[in-house]
């Protein structure tokens, strides 16, 4: 029997139809070849720096630090990247890899629309075709991003099955990939799915923690490490990118913030690690929100980007070994943090990222002034303003 590939402890693997096996094997071989290829890395770094505006700033949030009166707070400004989120790091990496593999067409799923916009952008830049699958409900929640994707030349296909959100978009993208493999790369948006995707996405996002490390040393002196790194977790790509280069630095607390929706004790939640069980879905073994018969639960969060019933296998593993902590943040806490950061620092964060800000607001006051928290602001909040206004009872039009 062949050995299962891409395991993080018991998690991960390649639970996909036979039709796709040669495609992921081909991808694995290509990635193994290019990940250490100086030419490929030079091209990617050039795209990240000159096109996507990296390195992103590590900003000392002085107002927030003073206001909370505890740990020193830094914000990793992924929101300042081109297209407004960390998603571009992975989209450019995968698009470039796909191009090297001779693929001419990218397909992708999207929840909040940020990964869809990033993929459509990379496709436009590299001259590739692009089709984005998006739940119909999410298309309504994130109409502006739908317009952007189409403006960038992508086809956006509405997914009406199931809950018409991110998980259904992933399922539909997988179905489409089995239909057309030869010229098509599935540019998956998070550190999930079958091997090698969780590793590929993690590697392309790990630029976040690589930069945090040297930027913090530049700001705070040699050998300075943060005491905590906080990021939001849906599938978990910005979090794994923020954690990766700190995993071996045991003094650094790694905290992932899951979307608790209306609370982890309610059914209206998307906090997978806090409420889910071990399962097999979307190509991987990991934790999933599901019923006793293994039917995937309809999850809920105000944030379309965190509204997913599973979590990347490496997070499941970091949870199992106790290396990272995963906490639930409710809609109300996230919206309050969204408003707080806007008012305090003049930065409007994505509602996803606001989940991480909310947790920092809880723990910073209890920490000492010589301690350091880094919050990854995974994206900007422009896309969320209309929805948050509605949440607060104001009807504004995009």
């Amino acid at each position: 029997m062949l050995e299962s590939k891409g395991r993080f402890g018991i998690h991960g693997g390649q639970y996909i139809p036979e039709t796709l096996m040669n495609a992921v094997i081909e991808l694995d071989k290509a990635y193994t070849l290019y990940r250490d290829d100086p030419e490929f890395n030079k091209e990617l770094t050039d795209l990240l720096n000159n096109y996507a505006n990296r390195p992103s700033r590590l900003y000392y949030a002085e107002n927030m630090t003073k206001d909370l009166g505890g740990a020193k707070i830094y914000l990793k400004r992924e929101d300042l990247n081109h297209t407004g989120a960390h998603k571009i790091n992975n989209a450019l990496g995968q698009a470039l890899l796909a191009k090297k593999m001779g693929k001419s067409r990218l397909i992708a799923e999207t929840g909040a629309g940020q990964h869809g916009v990033a993929t459509a952008t990379a496709a436009a830049l590299l001259g590739m075709e692009c089709v984005v699958f998006m739940g119909k409900l999410d298309m309504e929640r994130q109409a502006l991003n739908v317009y952007k994707m189409r403006l960038l030349g992508a086809d956006v296909e509405a997914v009406t099955t199931g809950t018409a959100t991110l998980k259904d978009a992933v399922s539909q993208a997988m179905r489409e990939w089995t239909n057309r493999i030869d010229d098509t790369h599935y540019c998956i948006g998070s550190c999930m799915g079958p091997h090698p995707f969780p590793t590929i996405v993690r590697d392309f996002q790990s630029v976040i923690s690589r930069e945090i490390k040297w930027q913090l040393q530049e700001a705070e002196g040699r050998d300075t490490l943060p005491d905590a790194v906080i990021a939001c977790v849906g599938g978990g790509s910005n979090a794994i990118g923020s954690f990766y280069h700190f995993i071996d630095d045991k003094s650094v607390k790694l905290i992932g913030c899951e979307a608790a929706g209306r609370g982890i004790d309610t059914r209206e939640t998307a906090a997978t690690i806090n409420t889910g069980r071990l399962g097999i879905f979307h190509g991987m073994k990991s934790y999933f929100c599901q019923d006793k018969y293994g039917q995937i639960a309809p999850v809920y969060s105000i944030s379309a980007g965190l509204d997913y019933p599973g979590v990347g296998p490496e997070h499941a593993y970091l949870h199992d070994i106790g290396r990272a902590e995963y906490v639930g943040i409710t809609d109300e806490e996230a919206v309050s943090a969204f408003e707080y950061l806007s008012r305090t620092e003049g930065i409007i964060p994505a509602i996803e990222s606001a989940h991480a800000v909310a947790h920092a607001m809880k723990i910073a006051p209890k920490m000492s002034r010589d301690q350091i928290i880094v919050i990854t602001l995974s994206g900007r909040g422009d896309k969320d303003c209309a929805a948050i206004a509605r949440y607060r009872g104001q009807d504004i039009r995009d």
């Binding site: 029997m1 062949l2 050995e3 299962s4 590939k5 693997g13 390649q14 639970y15 996909i16 139809p17 036979e18 039709t19 796709l20 096996m21 040669n22 495609a23 099955t161 199931g162 998980k167 259904d168 399922s171 997988m174 179905r175 089995t178 239909n179 057309r180 493999i181 069980r277 071990l278 399962g279 097999i280 879905f281 979307h282 190509g283 999933f288 599901q290 006793k292 018969y293 293994g294 039917q295 995937i296």
Partner: protein, 250 residues
Amino acid sequence: MSNIAKAFEHGKAFIPFITCGDPDLETTGQVVRAAVENGADLIELGIPFSDPTAEGPVIQEANIRALNAGVTTDKIFDFVRDLRKDVQIPMVFMTYANVVFSYGSEKFIRTCSHIGIDGIILPDVPFEEKGDFDPICKKYNVDLISMIAPTSEDRIAMIASQASGFIYVVSSLGVTGVRNEITTDIRHMTALIRSSTNVPCAVGFGISTPEQAEKMAAASDGAIVGSAIIKLLARKSFHVRGRIFFFVVR
């Protein structure tokens, strides 16, 4: 020897696929018995899953209808116990990895063996991952059915050499659902399979007419028909139900 082999003893096997509980288990029972009367050789019973990633719209909708009507794995086990009082032909479950895994793989497969289920098809468990299920299947003498796709190529010998029960030959790229035309060279695939194993192979995915079923069976050992049957069933008329089995009676 696998009980499934009996399905292939009388020439080409006709294998209807039926989603359990669509729209209710009583109807599923009627359809299974009608299929048996009309000469079905093996029945593929679908246990619905909320997010069936290998299915096209027709079977996706059947799954949703069945789940909304309240069918569960335990109810399906009871249903099969009852069915086995008079249905003798081999029967296999087709479902997704999480349905088995979440129930407890050992408990699920042991129950299959007790109630007379001869095999399990899990479209999201490729060769590399069968270690989760295959040792337990062997322990309880339930065949884990291997699938071979048009893209399998250099993997065919590896998969076929470890196959048991029958081999599910996926006729086309993409998901389940009726197709006007099947363009894959099935004869070429079955020839490669037969150079590695004597386990029979049946072709499924996209078979929409009796003519197609005949053609696919001619190139292999049998034909699996799913979406075309579900589509007719969805129209809910008893008269239509009779028509389903003109696949069989031909």
